[in-house]
């Protein structure tokens, strides 16, 4: 079912949502840095912006979340009394990421109650990426700029209006009372979706020479490179696990937490006691930090940057697949765009597919 939503009517609609929902949308400062709860409709930045820097997973797995609080000498659970979250303007890659995280937090024997509570109450109104960035590669990892899986409704920007595709019951409720879109309007929306997909950059670019440069060895022969590569990335990565592939790709990496913190599917956390404020807090953690795998004995099973980089790539493209039957990457491109040294995971995967172990 498609609805027609003139942009001039959106503020009114958001206002009505705000009565029952914590409406979260891309916000400043400066421009669409993160999804945050808006106080008034005009704060939602939906037009002509790339995806947020900070991923919306933070709405469901907060960067720092107080689990227990010391009250009169006893630790008590912190009750979450916030209204249900309505995420407005979330992109397909991020919706997909939330679905993947559902497999982590809800899929196994261990249900994460905090995630569960927030997710069940929430509604997701997606926004078709009409202008994918140079760093986007969702189409290379099984999605698209208008992937609607997991969303409750999906907006397509048609200039003066949004064409709303209502997907779930929740979505139906949110857009009740709007006129249906005409066949011509729907067709237009479909066309612009196709244009968006066509605008996607080549998924895995080829920049093999530069990585070969650091090997100190000569590259394979012409014949070698003609050989067709196994297309399962997971098998490929497993096959080169012990090779010097990793020492090459990790050289520029400075070991910061940008890629993992901005990744919409990274979900590692660390639970710490903040003694001074009497709180037990769950914080995001990053496998790129040396301290992440540091054990109490002093032993560190991933003591080098190489092993940490390998783990991150393997986790996205192999381990996640082993455990949850899907790639752990949604192609949002945040790690590509914001890496301080321009490490591009697309190049790494492409290189892995073509790499000749010596």
């Amino acid at each position: 079912m498609y609805k027609y939503l003139p942009k001039s009517e959106l503020p009114v609609l958001i206002q009505t949502w705000m009565a029952g929902w914590a409406v979260c949308a891309p916000m400043g400062p400066p421009d669409a840095t993160a999804f945050a709860r808006i106080d008034e409709p005009s704060q939602a930045l939906l037009d002509a912006i790339p995806n947020t820097i900070y991923p919306p997973k933070a709405l469901f797995l907060p960067h720092s979340e107080v689990l227990l609080k010391a009250v009169a000498g006893r630790l008590e659970e912190v009750e979450d009394c916030s209204p249900p979250t309505l995420v407005l303007g979330i992109r397909s890659c991020d919706v997909r990421a939330l679905s993947l995280l559902d497999r982590v937090f809800l899929g196994g024997n261990h249900i994460d109650p905090y995630w569960k509570a927030r997710r069940e109450k929430a509604a997701l109104i997606g926004l078709v990426c009409s202008e994918p960035c140079q760093s986007c590669f969702c189409t290379a990892v099984g999605s698209s700029p208008f992937d609607e899986r997991g969303a409750d409704a999906l907006l397509t920007d048609q200039g003066q209006a949004y064409i709303v595709k209502v997907i779930s019951e929740k979505g139906r409720g949110l857009f009740e009372g709007l006129d249906s879109a005409s066949a011509a309007q729907i067709d237009e929306a479909v066309q612009s979706r196709k244009a968006a997909e066509a605008a996607m950059a080549e998924p895995f670019s080829r920049k093999i020479a530069s990585l070969e440069a650091s090997s100190g060895k000569t590259t394979g022969t012409e014949e070698d490179s003609e050989e067709s590569m196994p297309w399962s990335i997971r098998d490929r990565l497993n096959a080169i696990y012990e090779s010097d592939f990793w020492s090459r790709i990790q050289q520029a990496c400075i070991g910061c937490g940008v890629c993992t913190f901005l990744c919409p599917t990274c979900h590692c956390f660390d639970i710490v006691d903040e003694f001074q404020r009497g709180e037990r807090v769950r914080n995001w953690d990053s496998c790129m930090f040396r301290i992440y795998s540091q054990e109490a004995s002093g032993h560190n099973p991933r003591p080098t940057n190489l092993k940490r980089v390998r783990n991150r790539i393997m986790h996205k493209y192999a381990y996640f697949q082993d455990r949850y039957r899907a790639l752990g990457c949604t192609g949002c491109g945040r790690c590509v765009r914001h890496c301080p040294v321009n490490i591009d995971i697309r190049e790494i995967i492409q290189y892995a597919l073509e790499f000749k172990a010596s």
Binding site: Q134, G216, A252, I254, D344
Partner: protein, 333 residues
Amino acid sequence: MVNALNASLRKEASRILQENLVDVVIGFQAGSLPMTAQPAFVRRAGMAGILINSGFGATNLALYLTRRRHRSERIGLVCRGCESRAVRVLTGERQHVREALYLIGIPCKGIIDRRRIEAEAGPHVLSAEEIDAEVVVTTRSGEYRFLRSEVLHGACRQCRFPHPVGVDITVGELPRERADSLQEGGALSAAEAGTFIGKEPCGFESLTADERYAEFTRRAERCIRCYACRQACPMCYCTQCFVDSTTPRWTESTVGRAGAQAWHIMRAFHQTGRCVGCGACERACPMGIKMRALTDKLNRDMERSYGFVPGKEEIHEPPFAAFSMDDANRFGR
């Protein structure tokens, strides 16, 4: 002109690899996105062709000297002014042996701040080219031309020492000496204060203490504790950073006011007499936090009080590592 420079850079890199003077040459190669350049590690003379001189090289390459994996290597380092000064600080702090380094100095016209360009040209930049004094940017909606001097990173606008110092060779023509932008006594000129922290209200020192704290708080609040600033800094080479210490814990790791403020203040203090002002920390920050005002203040204090500018001269004893029984001050005696 840029191409001629690339050619001589590559030739020199190729030569020192061929003559086995170094194990690796660290420089920049073209990045995977417009307005980026990626650190390159060239180990074979035949591959020196990937090296480029780029105004988009946001990283301070001297940071790789302190990485454990490079400590025992003979490194050829492509150096701009800030990198060469960072090398001096690092060798002065015994973090690498100068004799194991071969420094290739290249002229520096300042690093282009891609966020500044994106703020004007929009986020969808398809290509960017440095043409003389201009940066020409193509987007889906058309072409934009920027004066290079107007889109430089804040640190580079303020840079007083763009020349590589203490290098083994310099390739290409060095730009005309930029006039010292600091006034006598080290105070910022009004014009400099204007560009001090980009578009934001600036000049920390001219603010009242309360205003300063409010501004600092506002900036620190956006910190996500990814430590990109630390990791991008050549001077942050501690085996264990104070924020990573769990016994005892010096700061909160929780994202919030207390932890973030402690982090930024402590980080700045640890830079006293060491920061070369390259601004790599700010360029690395994904959240666009500008904290150089803190290290700049400390640098000015160092210059005012001791006439010391990190990396300006060869040093054998870093000011805060110096110890003397004859010290006029009581501390340490």
